[in-house]
Symmetry: C2
C-alpha cells in the first residue's frame, strides 16, 4: 500500500512517501524525527529555540538513530531591536503571578535581550551539512542562500500567500511549503498583511502551484488520507503534517497536551501572540484568556519571558499555562507509533483515490 | 465526461453534477440560476434583500426559464431590535459624503428600522413551493421547519464549525453546506466565536462529515476541478461555488466587478462589516479602507443605510464604493458561459481523479 515515487518532491527529498513531518520547535525531539525518517517520510527538527551546542547535540542524536535525510528548521527573521529594560521589567511584573505559581525566578533582562544568536544557529546547521534546511517567517539573506547551495543543502521555504511563494521561488528555494490558515503553531507570514494572509489551503495551494514551477507542499489541517488525497488533488506534490505527529508514541510532549489535541473541537483553537509575541494557532486555555488584549513584547523577547513558565507547565502537564499549538483538525489525531501512522495514512490515501476514480468512471 | 450519479446529494437534489451554484444575494439573477439548473447543477437564488413581491416575481421568472429544481436562500437570523433614531442619524451623517458623491438621498430612518419582514419573505418562498430552501446565519424555527417539511421542501443549512453542523442535523435538515474560511460573501457563523470559526475547508469538511450522517457540501475557495476533486476526497458529496459564477456570462454584475474578481490576489480580500454590519469576505477597496475601525450599525440596518450607495456604484461600475464579495481564489475565475464552466469543471475533476489514481496504483 504505497503511493509510487512519482512526485518531483519525493525525488528531490529521496522519500518513499510524499509526507513531511513538520518541525515542532519545543515539541519535537530527535527520536520523533528519526522515526519519521525511518518510516519513509522527511523528518524535520525545529531548532529555533536551541543554542548552537544544543543543535549540534540533537543533530548527532538524530544521526545515531537514522541514516536517512532529514530537515532542520529555523525562523528566518531579521534580528529585531530589543525592547528597553523598562518594558522588560513591566512585562516581567505582569507575568510575576505565573513565575510565583510555578516557583521559578524571573528571567534576567539581559538574557531576554540577547537571546540566542540566529547567525550562530544558522552556522551550526550549515556546518552540520544537513540534507534539508527549511525555514519560515522570511527568507535567508543572499549570502546564506549561497552558502547553503554550496553545501548542497536542499532549501524549503514557507509561504502563506502567493507573493511570498513568488519571492521564495525567486530566491532559488527547491520547494515551497504552502501554509494554510488551518495550520497549528506560528504563522509564517512575512510579506503582506497578516490577517488577509490567513488563506485556507483550498484556495492557497492551486494559486501557489500556478505561480511557481517548483514542488509545493501543502500544510495545515491535514490529518488523514482524506487530507493527503485532497492536497494532491489541489496540485501539491506532498503534505507537511505537524499536529498529527504530536500524538504519536515517539513524540515526548506531555500526555495532557496529547489529550487536549485529540479532544478539541475545530473552533477551540485561536490565533494568539500571548506566548511568544508572534501570532500562532493553539488550543484556547487559561493563559490565553488571561493575557489576550494586552500587548506582548515582540518575538522572540516575549517568548524568552514566558518560556520558563511554559517549561514548568509542560513538565507537570499543567496545560492551562503553556502553548498548546494545534491545527484546526486536532480531533483527527491518533495515538499510534510513527510507523503505524504513516502506514495508515498511505493506505487511506490510496483507498480515497481509488474510490473516487471508480465513482467518476 | 461526467461524474456518475453516485453521491446521496446528487440523488437528493436530482442533479447531474455534484455542484451547487451559490446564492449571491444582490449579485445573482434569475437568468444565472436557470442557466445553472439547465447545465445540470443546483442553481440558487439569494432572496435576502428582496420584498415578497420581488421574490415572487423572480421565482416566476426562473420557472419560465427552467423546469429543473432550484434553491432559494435566506439568512435565518432572528429579527433584531432596531437602533435608535439618533444612531441612525449619526451613521447617515457619517455616510453623507457618499450620498453626496452619488447624488442620492439619505435613506429614511423609518425605512431603515423597518426593512423587509423576514417572515413575509419566508412565507413567499414557502408558498412558492420551491424545491430547495437553503439558509445561513442560523436555523429556521421549529414551526418553520415543520411547514417546510410538510411542503416537501428540501432543507440545506450552513455550518462554519462542527457544533453548527450538529445543530443543523438535529433540526432535521437534509444536507449541510460546510462554509470554509476561504468563502466570499457573508460568514454563516451563528454559534460559537466568530474568529475561531474561521475554519479552513481542509480541516472543516472531514470533521463535519464525521459528525453528521447527512450529505455535506463543501463551500469556499473552490474554483476548478482541482478544488472539486479535493472536496470529494475530504468526504464532501458536492461543492457549492459562488465566486466562480460571478464571472460567467449569465451573471449580470458590472464588468468592473468581474475584472476585480479575476485580478485579485489571494491576500487581497478581507473580512469586513462596513457594508452590511455583518462580517463578509470581499476584495479590499476604498470604501473598506475609509470605514474600517468604525462601528457600523448591526445587520440589516447598516446594509439598508449603505445599499443606495452600493446600488449607485454598481450601476456605474465604481467598484471602489461597493461590496466586491469574492472568495480567496477569485483569480481562478473564468469568463465563459455557465454551461461551458460546468463542462470544464467536470472534465477537469475527472482528469485530476484519474491521474491521481494512476499515480497511486
Amino acid at each position: 500500500m504505497e503511493i509510487a515515487m512519482r512526485t518531483r518532491l519525493q525525488e528531490l527529498l529521496g522519500i518513499k512517501y510524499p509526507i513531511v513531518q513538520a518541525p515542532l520547535a519545543g515539541s519535537d525531539n530527535p527520536e520523533l524525527v528519526a522515526a519519521a525518517c525511518n518510516a519513509g517520510v522527511l523528518g524535520s527538527f525545529g531548532a529555533q529555540y536551541l543554542t548552537p551546542d544544543e543543535i549540534r547535540k540533537a543533530l548527532a542524536r538524530i544521526r545515531s538513530l537514522t541514516d536517512k535525510p532529514f530537515a532542520v528548521n529555523l525562523f528566518s527573521q531579521p534580528r529585531k531591536q530589543p525592547p528597553g529594560d523598562h518594558q522588560i521589567a513591566e512585562e516581567s511584573k505582569r507575568l510575576s503571578k505565573y513565575y510565583a505559581e510555578f516557583g521559578i525566578s524571573t528571567p534576567l533582562a539581559d538574557a531576554v535581550k540577547t537571546g540566542i544568536d540566529p547567525d550562530a544557529q544558522f552556522q551550526a546547521i550549515l556546518e552540520a551539512r544537513v540534507a534539508v534546511f527549511s525555514f519560515t517567517l522570511g527568507i535567508p539573506n543572499p549570502d546564506q542562500i549561497k552558502e547553503l547551495k554550496k553545501a548542497s543543502i536542499i532549501l524549503i521555504g514557507t509561504a502563506t500567500n502567493v507573493k511570498e511563494a513568488r519571492a521564495l521561488a525567486a530566491a532559488q528555494v527547491d520547494a515551497i511549503t504552502a501554509q494554510g490558515s488551518e495550520a497549528g503553531g506560528h504563522r509564517g507570514t512575512f510579506a503582506g498583511e497578516f490577517e488577509d494572509s490567513m488563506i485556507g489551503l483550498m484556495a492557497l495551494v492551486p494559486q501557489v502551484v500556478d505561480a511557481v514551477d517548483i514542488p509545493v507542499i501543502a500544510a495545515g489541517g491535514i490529518m488523514d488520507g482524506r487530507g493527503i488525497a485532497a492536497a494532491l488533488a489541489l496540485g501539491a506534490e506532498g503534505v507537511q503534517m505537524g499536529t498529527a505527529f504530536l500524538t504519536v508514541e515517539e513524540c515526548a510532549v506531555h500526555q495532557n497536551y496529547k489529550l487536549a489535541v485529540q479532544n478539541h473541537d475545530a473552533d477551540d483553537t485561536t490565533i494568539t501572540d500571548v506566548f511568544s509575541g508572534a501570532p500562532a494557532r493553539g488550543i484556547k486555555n487559561k493563559f490565553i484568556a488571561e493575557n489576550t488584549g494586552r500587548h506582548p513584547l515582540p518575538f522572540p523577547f516575549q517568548n524568552a519571558l514566558t518560556r520558563p513558565i511554559r517549561n514548568a507547565a509542560n513538565k507537570t502537564g499543567q496545560i492551562e499555562y503553556t502553548n498548546l499549538w494545534s491545527g484546526q483538525a486536532g480531533r483527527l489525531a491518533r495515538r499510534v507509533s510513527t510507523k503505524e501512522l504513516i502506514g495508515s495514512l498511505m493506505s487511506e490515501t490510496k483507498d480515497v483515490l481509488n474510490k473516487l476514480a471508480t465513482d467518476s468512471a
